[in-house]
């Protein structure tokens, strides 16, 4: 479905279901130079099991119009406009990588009297989310090289053997990034690198938090997620084995099962 925000058409995948006012909503937020399709399995499951789903394309990504936004704060403000307009009475936010930073910041800043945030799931999260100078340079000057670096760092295995029959996950990621808007990778990685609002945001979030990380994640090492989880009494951390940063494609069932358990046990 499309939602109009600031005179721009913004896209949210709903699992081909019409949202219902009596159901809670799960909002999925993708990472740098990605789009809603990274959540293909998980979002579709929730859409058919008692939830509304909004798997959004961030501004300037995939089907969403508008300019690329330059900071995690501006992306979070945009996300909260989407949530206020379309998420209904109760909602959960699930973010991956850059999307996890956006989800955190949005959760901290959401303030709408008619709606309640039930839970927050941060997948492939680290804070700060520093990006190496080599990767930032490639993102600015040679995006193809940046896509290649990120794809290789994002997978626990270099030889595949992924669970989705017939698909080569590394090829999927490369293709998705190559199809993204020119300049988006540098914009997005810069936003991740510069974000410093984590401590303040965590202090404002009152709902339960799930940190879900791949044990072999090189992009957002699990030990950094554990540091944040250990600070927060309402947080828990789960590590998925044989997974890097691309958890949703490396272990679609593992991610879904953890989200089902976590989201199903909070709110509503």
């Amino acid at each position: 479905m499309y939602i109009n925000i600031n005179n721009s058409r913004c896209y949210a995948y709903t699992g081909t279901r019409h949202p219902r006012g009596d159901l809670p909503t799960v909002v999925f937020v993708h990472g740098a130079s990605m789009d809603h399709t990274v959540w293909a399995h998980q979002s579709r499951y929730f859409a058919y099991h008692g939830y509304n789903v909004l798997a959004i394309d961030l501004p300037g990504h995939k089907f969403s119009q508008g300019d690329l936004l330059p900071s995690i704060a501006s992306l979070a403000a945009w996300l909260n406009q989407i949530i206020a307009q379309a998420a209904g009475a109760g909602f959960h936010i699930v973010g991956h990588s850059m999307g996890a930073l956006i989800a955190l910041e949005a959760a901290a800043g959401f303030n709408h009297p008619a709606s309640a945030l039930h839970s927050l799931a941060l997948i492939g999260f680290s804070y700060p989310m520093l990006v190496t100078p080599q990767l930032l340079d490639a993102a600015e000057n040679d995006p193809g090289r940046a896509y290649s670096m990120m794809t290789q760092w994002s997978h626990a295995s270099a030889i595949g053997g992924e669970p989705v029959p017939g698909f080569w996950s590394a090829g999927m990621q490369m293709s998705m990034m190559h199809s993204s808007r020119e300049g988006s990778i540098f914009f997005d990685l810069t936003a991740c690198h510069q974000y410093r609002g984590g401590e303040a945001a965590f202090a404002k979030v009152n709902c339960p938090i799930l940190f879900l990380s791949g044990r072999q994640d090189k992009m957002a090492p699990a030990k950094l997620a554990k540091v944040e989880a250990d600070k927060n009494a309402r947080a828990e951390i789960v590590l998925l084995e044989h997974c890097g940063h691309s958890l949703m494609s490396e272990s679609p069932d593992g991610v879904l099962d953890e989200l089902k358990r976590f989201i199903g046990s909070h709110g509503d």
Binding site: Y13, T16, D35, T37, A40, H41, R44, Y45, Y48, K62, F63, T132, S148, M149, Q152, W153, S157, A158, I159, G160, G161, E162, P163, V164, P165, G166, F167, W168, A170, G171, M172, M174, S175, M176, H178, S179, K218, M219, P252, D253, L256
Partner: protein, 433 residues
């Protein structure tokens, strides 16, 4: 983070798509010879069928052994995924059926495999899909043949029988300008010699029967998607960008932009047409792919030595091989086929039909049959076999002379192949003189 390292071709050919069997530790890819799979419970079954969870439900749709082959060829071609089919012909049909409706139109190279020509020229028109054939060397002709209802440009990296090379970057640009995909049959080259996605192709198909399998043991095909064609933006492919009532109103492009084509091809094409690959066939092809690089190197080096040998024979009239300066597409070899122009080529013997017949029947190591891409050397004389009903004039129109010999050079010891050819040339020379 350490320096990222991209896994290289030869390693992917051996490993991509497979991790050692977690239950028994089998190192080879197990053959999952099963039609169906036990569900954990009803919810899991429903989730599988509704694409909420990945996995296998029924082997017409997917199979663990076949999936390794699909993932491996996708890795080697630099694609997003593959879909294995019962034959190369089934792969071509599946791609067309996934993208087109009655009223659609294809622009195809006139220098394609005869089976492909048949389906495009004679069979698909019965279903309302028509094709305009253009020489792959006629770039303006290709551009001018495109109509508002054209939905694909189709050709081969190396064509048949004249070894015409399609100028992939130029043709891909024409396809892009017209918002239609370029689909390439890469059977003769394999990803070892040419990776068409690097030159702008959108879809690749193989008859895996040939070099991928490499041993002439099974029939199979595959179609691979690069995942970068903008189906939604094109506005010409409603089968991928509009809700499909046959699958819960799914719009495949919304579900997976990169995998939309393969999703529809599997969820509709395999479900409804059912031309799937058997797991045992996938196993044989995977065995072949493990040695793809080594075989292709040997195929090419043997071919070059044989061509050098034939050039010195006074009973050989002409040789058609793109690495020879007199070949019309010689100028494309360095850029598109730097590792070699394959091992299938043709040459003409002096002495016409009788000489060709004597030559092929005199050979011992070159098997006289209608196939290419075997580890063993193969030969055929079209004028006395596949095209024997045709007159000399008709043969010429098809690009074949009465003395044309088509050869698929294998990986035997080159000296033994040359000895065998010497015998055949000697006897055919007696006929010619």
């Amino acid at each position: 983070m350490g320096k990222p390292t991209k896994t290289r071709f030869d390693t992917l050919a051996l490993h991509a798509g497979q991790r050692p069997d977690p239950v028994h530790g089998a190192r080879a890819v197990p053959i999952y010879q099963t039609a169906s799979y036990v569900f954990k419970d009803s919810d899991q079954a429903a989730s599988l069928f509704n694409m909420e969870r990945p996995g296998h439900a029924y082997s017409r749709l997917s199979n663990p052994t076949t999936a390794v082959f699909e993932e491996r060829i996708a890795a080697l071609e630099d694609g997003v995924g593959g879909l294995a089919t019962a034959s190369g012909q089934a792969a071509l049909h599946l791609a067309i059926a996934t993208l087109m409706d009655s009223g659609s139109h294809i622009v195809a190279s006139s220098a394609i495999y005869g089976g492909s020509h048949n389906i495009l020229q004679y069979t698909l028109p019965r279903f309302g899909i028509h094709t305009t054939f253009v020489s792959p060397r006629d770039i303006d002709g290709i551009r001018n043949a495109i109509q508002p209802n054209t939905r694909m440009i189709f050709g081969e990296v190396i064509g048949n029988p004249g070894n015409d090379i399609m100028n992939l970057p130029v043709v891909a640009q024409i396809a892009r300008e017209n918002k239609i995909p370029l689909m390439i049959d890469s059977t003769f080259t394999t990803p070892y010699l040419c990776r068409p996605f690097a030159y702008g192709a959108d879809l690749i198909m193989h008859s895996a029967t040939k070099f991928l399998c490499g041993h002439g043991t099974v029939i199979g095909g595959v179609v691979v998607d690069h995942g970068r064609f903008d189906w939604e933006g094109s506005g010409k492919f409603s089968s991928l960008s509009e809700p499909y009532t046959g699958f819960h109103d799914m719009s495949f492009d919304e579900e997976s932009s990169q995998g939309a084509f393969l999703l529809r091809a599997r969820r509709e094409g395999m479900r409804d047409f059912g031309a799937c690959m058997a797991p045992t066939v996938a196993f044989y092809i995977l065995q072949g792919m493990e040695t793809l690089s080594m075989r292709m190197e040997r195929h090419v080096s043997n071919t070059r030595k044989i061509i050098e040998f034939l050039q010195s024979s006074d009973v050989v009239d002409t040789i058609s091989y793109p690495e020879l300066p007199q070949h019309p597409d010689y100028h494309l070899v360095d850029s598109l086929l730097p590792k070699g122009a394959g091992s299938v080529f043709s040459f003409s013997l002096k002495g016409g039909r009788p000489a060709g017949r004597v030559f092929t029947e005199a050979l011992e190591l070159f098997s006289h049959l209608a196939n290419v891409g075997d580890a063993k050397s193969l030969v055929i004389h079209p004028a006395s076999t596949t095209h024997y009903r045709m007159s000399a004039d008709d043969l010429l129109q098809a690009g074949i002379s009465e003395g044309t010999i088509r050869m698929s050079v294998g990986i035997e010891d080159i000296d033994d192949l040359l000895d065998d050819l010497s015998k055949g040339l000697h006897l055919s020379g007696k006929v010619a003189n």
